[in-house]
């Protein structure tokens, strides 16, 4: 598999420039730019109400932008390439009276897959995902988790080249979240582009090659996860036995100090420009009593705070605390 390189000549599954969407006096999306390379796992990360769903709906052609352009596989009319796309909306919905294999086949038929073939593939997929016993059951007879799996399989049954998930992890238990992560990785491994929205940072951090951070309808950052993390300098975390001494002058003046009892002192500060080796010399000579020293790279959460601001980060945390039930 060729993972996206981040170069300028990448083939794009989705690109959007200056997307704007207004609902009455609410500006839901305000000039969003996004470029999703083919074969990438791309996350749209932001709190509820940030404009994630509206952005996805514009990208898919469910609604049209008030301004800006979007192209899916080079086509500015997403419905023209509908057979290449699979979409799982945040609000899952199936016809309750349909049997599982019929529901999967119907979702496939909407994307051009003949019904009979869809049914056959649906039965195989259900079997593969431990729902072989439910093939002939009606959707209304399934648990919520099982129904979600059926809809997910219906999203994939026509073997799309681009899969769009809106908050795919919401409502899933930890085990099913794990299964979905595996599925997303497998899809990307097979060359499928996956784009998903989420308000859970660790999903984006674990899965995504690239992210768009969205807050208040704007995208202040779009690019690789690594580049986002690198926007914040790595931090040194130093633990010493001694609290003071001549070695203290070697640490930056604004180093944050935290004590854990009499003989355990923590110091946090950015990696010095002169390097760690130069820092170690006075510490050792001054008998600081080094207990531990680590260089900690900023996580996506820190990057999110840096990029989107404290308020957006707080909103994200609140969403997580609520279990994403707005």
């Amino acid at each position: 598999m060729t993972r996206p390189s981040g170069g300028d000549n990448r083939k794009l599954a989705i690109e959007a420039h200056g997307l704007v969407k207004r609902f009455d006096d609410t500006l839901a999306v305000d000039g969003v730019d996004i470029a999703v390379p083919e074969g990438a796992i791309y996350g749209i990360l932001g709190p509820n109400g940030a404009g994630k769903t509206t952005t996805l709906r514009m990208l898919l052609g469910i609604i049209d932008p008030d301004a800006g352009v979007r192209r899916v596989f080079g086509n500015d009319r997403p419905h023209e390439v509908a057979k290449l796309i699979g979409y799982l909306p945040e609000e899952r919905g199936l016809y309750p009276a349909m049997k599982c294999d019929e529901a999967i086949a119907f979702l496939g038929a909407l994307r051009g897959l003949p019904l009979e073939e869809g049914k056959a593939r649906g039965r195989v997929l259900l079997e593969q995902h431990g729902l072989g016993h439910a093939v002939d059951r009606q959707i209304r007879q399934l648990s919520k988790g099982m129904a979600q799996t059926v809809q997910l399989l219906g999203t994939l049954v026509h073997r799309p080249k681009l899969v769009v998930f809106d908050e795919p992890f919401s409502g899933l238990d930890a085990i099913n979240q794990g299964k979905l992560e595996v599925m997303i990785r497998e899809l990307a491994h097979s060359g499928t582009t996956v784009i998903f929205s989420t308000h859970v940072i660790h999903h984006a951090e674990r899965l995504c090659d690239e992210v768009a951070i969205i807050a208040g309808g704007k995208v202040p950052y779009a690019g690789s996860v690594d580049a986002a993390r690198d926007r914040i300098p790595a931090q040194v975390r130093l633990e010493t036995r001694s609290a003071s001494g001549p070695w203290r002058s070697a640490l930056p003046g604004d180093a944050r100090h935290d004590a854990k009892g009499e003989a355990s002192h923590f110091w946090y500060f950015p990696v010095p420009e002169t390097g760690i080796e130069e820092l170690l010399k006075p510490l050792i000579a001054g008998q600081a009593g080094i207990l531990s020293l680590s260089i900690e790279r900023a996580g996506l959460h820190d990057a999110f705070v840096e990029i989107a601001g404290e308020a957006a980060a707080r909103a994200l945390e609140e969403d997580n605390a609520r279990g994403a039930k707005p």
Binding site: K21, R22, F23, D24, T26, A28, N48, G49, K52, T53, T54, R57, L60, G61, I62, I63, D64, D66, F73, N75, R77, H79, E80, V81, A82, K83, L84, I85, Y87, P89, E90, E91, R92, G93, L94, Y95, P96, A97, M98, F106, L107, A109, L110, R111, G112, P114, P326
Partner: protein, 403 residues
């Protein structure tokens, strides 16, 4: 299926229609739909029976005669002589006590007299409320005059020369056929439009609509739903026709016969079916648009009420223009899209010209396309308003292209 990157509009509409058709046909709603026409028939029969009884009780023709014995008998004999000629114009007569004041006789409980005749045959007096006096003065005077002559007038025998029909009779007959056709069309359309609306509301409740909107153009969703319900209705009509034919065969001549329409029954029925389809598609697309505007069942009911009332007005417009073919009102009813199917069906019953139907069907088909396209645009603007199925942000959404 061709190897393209999307379904054509018609393929997409077919997928939607196929699903809806099967789902509705095998649902309990279809059973109720089949039984639907029974309710207006039962209510109509009951209302007609009760109404007739009330009418008979209210419109009594009994006039009390409070005259001398001789005058009373002469008056009753005169009524008997005139009855074969103009019986329906004469009052029923009952003998009352000549010694009792007429006002008292009128108030006698359980008698139900409309008037009291007193005085003499030469100078009869009529006591009653003014409208009854206006109505019965003439017939009572005629009876008194006949009674006063004490002679039997010689009425010449009228030789009957019956013909099959006359312009007046034919016109009256065809108006009856036109009225029956319009009423049937109206009832069917209202029944179906309500069903397509509830089908859409259910879809919004199931949250399937976003999946559909993402996969296929909204006007294909719209068209698919309308066509599915039309298919269901045609199955229903076939069932009703079969049941109706069986009843007609069993009942023989016991059923009332509708007069033949001007275009003849086969063409009239075929046109009726096409006008039904057009009328339903027009009304159904309006109702679907309402479904798109509403987010709850309550909103649907509130929004569909004015349209239902407006449709009633449209029906009354078409119904009232039946008797005035060629008038400005009838031409307006034929041209206005929502009343056109009704007005043109009435024309098919009364006139044998075919070209107006070709013109009207072309116009109606164009209107169906415009209605569907416009409805789909509104639907698309309103149905996906925010992240959570349109609850968070209310109101109008900016300009949207239909696909």
């Amino acid at each position: 299926m061709k190897d393209t990157t999307r379904l054509s509009r018609f393929e997409a509409a077919r997928v939607i229609a196929q699903r809806d058709f099967r789902a509705i046909l095998f649902s309990r709603a279809f059973l109720f739909f089949l039984l639907g026409p029974l309710f207006p028939i039962i209510i109509g029969v009951l209302a007609g029976g009760i109404g007739g009884q009330v009418q008979r009780d209210a419109n009594t023709r009994l006039v009390a005669v409070a005259m001398s014995e001789a005058d009373t008998q002469a008056l009753i004999a005169a009524r008997a002589r005139l009855a074969p000629q103009i019986g329906r114009a004469l009052p029923e007569l009952a003998v009352a006590d000549a010694g009792t004041a007429p006002e008292v006789i009128l108030r006698e409980p359980g008698k139900n007299y409309v008037a009291v005749v007193g005085g003499t045959l030469a100078a009869p007096e009529l006591t009653a409320p003014q409208p009854a006096i206006d109505y019965w003065s003439g017939p009572v005077a005629m009876l008194a005059a006949e009674a006063g002559t004490r002679q039997v007038a010689a009425y010449p025998a009228v030789a009957p020369r019956p013909v099959a029909t006359s312009i007046a009779a034919q016109r009256g007959d065809r108006i009856r056929t036109a009225q029956a056709g319009q009423l049937l069309l109206f009832l069917l359309m209202m029944l179906l439009a309500g069903m397509v609306l509830s089908n859409l509301v259910e879809e919004k409740a199931n949250k399937v609509i976003e999946v559909l909107a993402a996969a296929v153009p909204m006007d294909a969703v719209f068209l698919g739903k309308l066509v599915a319900m039309l298919g269901v209705s045609l199955v229903g009509i076939a069932v009703w026709a079969a049941v109706g034919s069986a009843i007609a065969m069993l009942a023989g001549n016991a059923l009332p016969q509708l007069p033949a329409p001007a275009l003849g029954w086969p063409l009239f029925l075929a046109l009726g079916l096409v006008y039904f389809a057009m009328g339903y598609l027009l009304l159904g697309s309006l109702f679907l648009t309402i479904g798109g505007l509403a987010t709850t069942v309550r909103e649907v009911q509130t929004l569909s009420m004015p349209v239902t009332m407006a449709q009633l007005l449209v029906f009354f417009l078409a119904a009232s223009s039946i008797t005035r073919p060629g008038s400005l009102m009838e031409l307006f009813a034929a041209a206005f899209p929502l009343s056109s199917p009704f007005a043109m069906l009435a024309r098919a019953a009364q006139s044998d010209a075919l070209w107006p139907h070709a013109l009207a069907l072309g116009w109606q088909a164009l209107c169906v396309l415009l209605f569907v396209r416009f409805g789909a645009q509104i639907f698309r603007r309103r149905v996906m308003k925010s992240g959570k199925g349109g609850r968070a942000v209310k109101g109008h959404v900016g300009s949207v292209r239909a696909r």
